[in-house]
């Protein structure tokens, strides 16, 4: 099964013929992702990577039955592309772009209300379900099929966690990057729910960072609703207040935004917590046993 991206998913890419989309679509196809085509306005009717190119997402959905879209449009055009995908009924929309204006995302989230679409990102490495496929930019060779779900705000820290798990022989059911922006389409709690409902997932690793309430909100949700073990790490113990640490959303605006405050609260809620990022893999192993 696994979450958001499974063996029945039919994938398109928006901005398909661009350099980045081409590279990452090819990488996705190499590991077996069911890519059915793509969209580049103005290039409809042509072929790219042996697949059909469409002018609009609506047409791509009608012709290929796509239900997952990887959006590679650059930040100024990303909001429009996301809303086009929502309008066309795409269920899982993965947004790679880093640098979408935050008020654009406020409008996108309003537009999404009442639809069945889920937005993964922006500013995310994407989704990978090892053995099934990926929609994103992560190095797929480091992942391996397994039964631990991963959800993170950061990309490279996700890779770090995966490497530590691999050293201990632990694989992943799916790995989801929700992105480093202050307003993202899907929050931790939504992904936790998907993993809780997934029969192929036994435990979930949540990798958060400074800024915003969503790690603690998710842990509160987990305490009430989750039976699978949840392991949490929050990056930024030594981050100064009021400074944006690389990610637009990684900023300490109040006491509750700090890594220490979050991890203490999450620990008090009874979750497994990791304080030293070098101990992520070992803590996941301990939680499963």
């Amino acid at each position: 099964m696994s979450v958001f991206l499974n063996k029945d998913s039919r994938v398109i890419f928006q901005g398909f013929t661009g350099q980045h989309a081409t590279f990452h679509a090819e990488e996705a196809m190499k590991i077996g992702t069911n890519v059915t085509g793509g969209v580049t306005p103005g290039k409809g009717g042509t072929q790219h990577l042996g697949l059909p190119v469409f002018d609009t997402v609506e047409e791509a959905v009608r012709e290929t039955g796509a239900d997952v879209s990887g959006i590679f449009a650059p930040p100024p055009f990303a909001a429009d592309a996301i809303m086009e995908a929502i309008d066309a009924g795409i269920k899982t929309i993965v947004v790679i772009a880093d640098g979408i204006p935050v008020q654009d995302m406020v409008r996108v989230e309003r537009y999404r209300l009442g639809t069945n679409s889920i937005i993964i990102g922006p500013n995310t490495p994407g989704i990978i379900t090892p053995g099934v496929g990926k929609v994103g930019i992560m190095p797929s060779h480091i992942y391996s099929p397994g039964r631990v779900g991963i959800v993170s705000r950061s990309g490279t820290l996700n890779y770090e966690a995966v490497a530590q798990m691999s050293d201990l022989g632990l694989g992943q059911s799916s790995s989801i990057g929700i992105g480093g922006d202050p307003v993202n389409g899907t929050d931790f709690a939504t992904v936790l729910k998907a993993f809780e409902d997934d029969p192929d997932t036994d435990a979930v690793l949540m990798i958060g960072e400074i800024g915003g309430p969503q790690e603690v909100d998710a842990a509160r949700w987990a305490k009430k609703n989750m039976r699978k073990p949840l392991i949490c790490y929050v990056a930024g113990l030594s981050a100064p207040p009021g400074r944006r640490m690389g990610h637009a959303g990684a900023i300490i605006s109040s006491e509750s935004d700090t890594a220490t405050a979050k991890i203490d609260t999450i620990e008090a809620l009874g979750m497994f917590v990791v304080r030293n990022p070098a101990d992520i893999g070992a803590t996941v192993l301990r939680a499963i046993k």
Partner: protein, 400 residues
């Protein structure tokens, strides 16, 4: 991106928010001229730096004569203000805002933030004006009024009335309050701000509402479509190393430790700082080289980190996804050669092309310390930095 108080007030004026008559000046003579032009009996002279707490630091003072305004301006311009936000080194004041002083009857707080939980712009108000809103939120959270704004229709009149009533702005003040709130909202929306606040919004003795102090912060990611806002940027208020880093597509933030850090990815960069801290060390900076880093970009990262004189060694932690370890290694060698680096360099490479990267480092004549993983890298960095401190300390105590 932050801007000065006088710039914020200029913007707000265009959106119908009433502000006291005043102008920004660079010299004491100009201060006196402006005071005369705007008239009145008393004037406020306000230091223009990007920091809160200017009043407590002596950067906001009232003069009761033109001469006094000149003297105060002379004292403030060119002085260094130390506030809770500037750090001990303080901030040089290059200009002051001269305004007509008001007789304040009562003070309020009005602000707009992007609420991450609701993913909406939220109007925040309080009858506790002149106090930092974070303090009110902590001590008396029940005194904070919130109203969530639907981006499809914007801030509505009735929402403003609700908020105004709740903080006690009634009667003739009500329509004024609605106008201020809507003006603030439009200013935030139209300029892609991520935060806007008026604190205090004051009732003055004439019965008017006036924005006595205001602050706005803008979305760096939207500056490409806000040229007038971009022009308000004041590079003097930013760390030159951070400005240079931005120019090279790097994310750099100066911290107060001695372990220089070069990492890819914001999350891994924070985790690396955490690991150093947990081993008892202190990171000198946050630095994210980003994805697809070329050798030149890596070399630039060294150049920026090394401008901090406190840095005693550098820890490089790369987990390459779309990056390539061989490019990173080439960049490291280039920096070592061109920048004549003598301090210990600890390198942890993982991910794409890691074997090629390690081979490049091993083939060079430089004595890199290769770490096997994150924990190893942090432990070595802290041990090494402690050794350097021990070696240096006795030398300093030796009699000459």
């Amino acid at each position: 991106m932050n801007i000065h108080e006088y710039q914020t007030k200029d913007l707000l004026k265009h959106y119908g928010v009433p502000v006291p008559p005043g102008r920004v000046v660079h010299t004491d003579a100009q201060a006196a001229t402006v005071a005369e032009e705007i008239g009145g009996a008393r004037w406020v002279v306000k230091a223009q730096i990007h920091s809160g707490g200017r009043g407590k630091a002596g950067g906001v003072r009232v003069g009761s004569s033109i001469d006094e305004v000149r003297v105060i301006a002379n004292e403030i311009i060119g002085s260094v203000l130390v506030t809770h936000q500037t750090g001990a080194e303080g901030r040089l004041v290059r200009r002051v805002l001269v305004e007509q002083a008001s007789n304040i009857v009562r003070e309020y707080y009005i602000g707009l933030v992007i609420d991450r939980a609701t993913r909406r712009i939220t109007l925040v108000a309080s009858a506790e004006g002149g106090v930092e809103i974070e303090v009110v939120a902590q001590q008396t959270p029940e005194r904070i009024i919130r109203e969530i704004i639907d981006p499809a229709v914007g801030l509505l009149d009735f929402q403003c009335r609700k908020v105004a009533y709740k903080v006690g702005l009634k009667g003739t003040l009500l329509p004024q309050a609605v106008k201020v709130m809507k003006g603030l909202y439009r200013c935030m929306r139209d300029n892609d701000a991520i935060m806007a606040e008026i604190n205090p919004l004051a009732i003055v003795d004439s019965g008017q509402l006036l924005a006595l102090d205001a602050k706005m912060s803008f979305d760096d990611n939207a500056l490409y479509r806000r040229p007038t806002v971009s022009e308000l940027r004041d590079f003097d208020e930013e760390d030159p190393k951070e400005v240079e880093a931005t120019g090279h597509g790097l994310n750099y933030i100066a911290l107060d430790g001695d372990v220089g850090c070069i990492v890819n990815g914001a999350g891994l960069a924070m985790a690396t700082m955490d690991a150093i801290t947990l081993h008892g060390g202190r990171p000198a900076n946050f630095l994210d080289v980003g994805g697809g880093a070329t050798p030149e970009k890596v070399a630039n990262a060294f150049h920026i980190v090394l401008q901090d004189p406190a840095v005693k060694l550098i820890l490089i932690n790369i987990f390459a996804g779309i990056n390539r370890c061989d490019w990173i290694a080439t960049g490291i060698i280039q920096a070592m050669r061109d920048q004549n680096i003598k301090m210990p360099i600890i390198v942890r490479l993982a991910g794409t092309n890691v074997e090629e990267g390690r081979a490049i480092l091993n083939a060079s004549q430089f004595p890199f310390i290769i770490a096997s993983d994150l924990n190893d890298a942090a432990a070595i960095a802290v041990t090494e930095v402690n050794n350097i401190v021990k070696k240096v300390a006795p030398l300093e105590k030796e009699p000459s």
